[in-house]
Chain length 520, copies 2
Amino acid sequence: MAMSTMIHNHLPAIPHTGVNRNKLVARAHQEAPVVDHPINGTKASKRAARLAESLSNLLHLHVEPPQRREVMKHYSSWDSFGDDEKHSTPTMSPKQMISDKWREIHGCTDWDSLLDPLHPCLRREILKYGEFAQATYDAFDFDPFSEYCGSCRFNSNKIFEKLGLDGKHGYKVCKYIYAMSHIDMPQWLNRTVHLGDTWSRDSNWMGFVAISDEEETRRIGRRDIVVAWRGTVAPSEWYEDFQRKLEPIGPGDDAKVEHGFHSIYTSKSEHTRYSKSSASEQVMKEVTRLVKLYKEKGEEVSLTITGHSLGGALALLNAYEAATTIPGLPISVISFGAPRVGNIAFRDQLHQMGVKTLRVVVKQDLVPKMPGVVFNEGLQKFDEITGTLDWVYTHVGAELRLDVRSSPYLKHGFNLLGFHSQETYLHLVDGFVCQSSSFREDARRDVALVNKACDMLVDELRIPHCWYQMENKGLVRNAHGRWVKPKREAEDVPVPVGSQPNFHALDKIVESRRLQPVYV
Amino acid sequence: MAMSTMIHNHLPAIPHTGVNRNKLVARAHQEAPVVDHPINGTKASKRAARLAESLSNLLHLHVEPPQRREVMKHYSSWDSFGDDEKHSTPTMSPKQMISDKWREIHGCTDWDSLLDPLHPCLRREILKYGEFAQATYDAFDFDPFSEYCGSCRFNSNKIFEKLGLDGKHGYKVCKYIYAMSHIDMPQWLNRTVHLGDTWSRDSNWMGFVAISDEEETRRIGRRDIVVAWRGTVAPSEWYEDFQRKLEPIGPGDDAKVEHGFHSIYTSKSEHTRYSKSSASEQVMKEVTRLVKLYKEKGEEVSLTITGHSLGGALALLNAYEAATTIPGLPISVISFGAPRVGNIAFRDQLHQMGVKTLRVVVKQDLVPKMPGVVFNEGLQKFDEITGTLDWVYTHVGAELRLDVRSSPYLKHGFNLLGFHSQETYLHLVDGFVCQSSSFREDARRDVALVNKACDMLVDELRIPHCWYQMENKGLVRNAHGRWVKPKREAEDVPVPVGSQPNFHALDKIVESRRLQPVYV
């Protein structure tokens, strides 16, 4: 309590800068008028109309007329949004020195009285960590026809540069983390017996460990180690999450966590190239090394673990292990749209060890209701299956609750994918002032990012949906005019943990097995 | 008859180079084994499974395991297809001199005995014209959020270069054709009163007129004028096609054509910038000019009109008008997947005027069955509605019939879009030997092209589906890190018919009205 008051003192009060939300929402909800179908009348003509409709799908891409809405005067009528002035501003609020209050911002008082209203310095830190979580998606190779499917598209030295994050946040990636994927990888992989040698059909890139540079370290008052966990991609990873089995974690048998998450975090196999050690072992080895390195230099060190969706669940398991292994280290978890992970005892142990957790949750997002949506609310005859109450999954820590309807830039209609998207989360964090106010007028984060992989922005903004895509899905025309997949640059080919990069040897493997329609 | 024999004499017989199709098809039809669902058993767990399934959609892009198939040994096991040798060959058979037999190839004998087996020289010409038809899709601006939606993305001087067709076919574009679009353009266009001044909400780019260069003219034995018509894009254009009303065309009242097609071909309005003259007037003016120009030079001149889907229908109307207007000009139509256009009298008049029509038709494609599928086969009580028989739509000319199942590269499962795709047509033409043989072994056209805008290639080829796409849908990051749509290069901004390009003035219009999130 005393602590909380103290924070409030040296963190100045935040003005409520939001404008009247209701008015905007009311405008935004005006729907497109129903257009009369050009063909109507007889039964036969109705059949023709139906046929025409289904045939319109034949006709390559078709132009979908966006819904008609009123201009949202305060924010984003196209004319004002197209304004050069608006487009010339940086996409982040300026960095502020937080070296004297980093412990509070890092959660040492459970963010008490920093969340509503949201303190600007905390907002900026949440966005920083959230963009690290987003980076694990942006850099991931999703292409099922790529021989590197499931890896990171860039090596650890240039990932931030490639994603435009170099210089922005002042961190450097030290280590990549891999985990057993449990993916049913494309079947053709089985045809070539040794394809596993080149990349792995057993492992997926799951994130990275990064460290703050000198300048950022000065600004934030300590050397900050970040672990960013990637969320789920393949359905099989997700099914694994639904084994409906809590299993013990830690020294006692009280704390229990969901089996699927725990399995991804701890699985390993001698028969793989990237998962001879588990994700848990990889990450803890690197974190322990970094803590030791900087503590020996006399620096203050913190650990911040972040992740979206499944990544948020893994972050919590990671935090539990780190707190057990490295007592006294300030550890925080900033998770976005994460499902519940364990039981009440798990939560209590995390509390006791001093792990601070800030769960950023969009009210309309379904994933944070999981597995609880199945096992807490959804199941009528819950006891018949489980018998005891310590099977109940529970959430951990403080919550920053966001509402899609607070943003005048977003469509508010049901959108399973859009509500869960990490870019939606980051947009809403950027605009959040307090629970009773609406979107921040001076929010600066680029709104276009929201539509990267979904269709959430109102049409007036004229940002295409799902626009984050490679030119021709990576195919290029060779000298003969044929469309081929170029070889990945040698330095971006994943290299097994522990081995030295040997680009020449890898090239030879690729070449001799003709894994790709390679043309040089 | 005598003519047909003569052709056979100086066009040598074609060896049947196809391999046994049945064997390949049998292999290709082996299906992926059914994978057991990880969750099964109780009712509750089934609900969980369903939830998991629907939630897997939440998880960004997901990896779809391709179907398992046997390697297709003769063609495209990945290893042999990845072979450098195969990837180093040109994507077209070498050009042959056809100056002494161009009239037969152009259809003067209705391609009698040239189609089954397909004569290699004719195949090459069909592919040339088919690629012009495809170019009208590849260059079209489909982006509903673009202020140039419905225009050609490139100006006429560089369209072929941008599409990799410069030098390949030896033609030069002389003129773009626009038509009234009848499109319900995105509603936001209405907000800015004068947006119509910059680009047009009334008109769509519908294709081009091109002319053979000196070298190609020597090879093909005459100066060839090509008109390529774009197919349908917007559903509203297609609905228009279904007004189920034949209307008279030409001097008598006997010949009748479908109202929708005719309307697109002939509509104009003083209130538009691009359709003050109709597509008909634009194209006939240019063709007449070119015919006059080269006839006065003493050259032989031909007119070849091509188009896919709706474009094929417009090609036929165009041919009818050209034959009426310019008697004695050799006129051919090469259409791909075109619907029926008119009645029997229309067909007969085309015959009488000497218009030659080669309809390339994929057996599985639905569009060539239209509007017939509604009015000939589909409707039981046909007479009740129409009363007379001259309402019956009918096809015109010779037919080259292709079968999706002839190609071992293609998936054979039902695929409305894939069966109709022009790239599928071109692939099948390239592989066609004769009706009783299977895919040509020495077909050279790049197979990857088939998947440009659909998902028709077997997974072993590892070509992504719908891969023809712009990087980030045209968004680029400006100096501040914001994602914005760059202005189109001034020379690629559409310029109204008859006016001189005035890039500076156009720039000013764009600038002052802030139509785009422009950042320079």
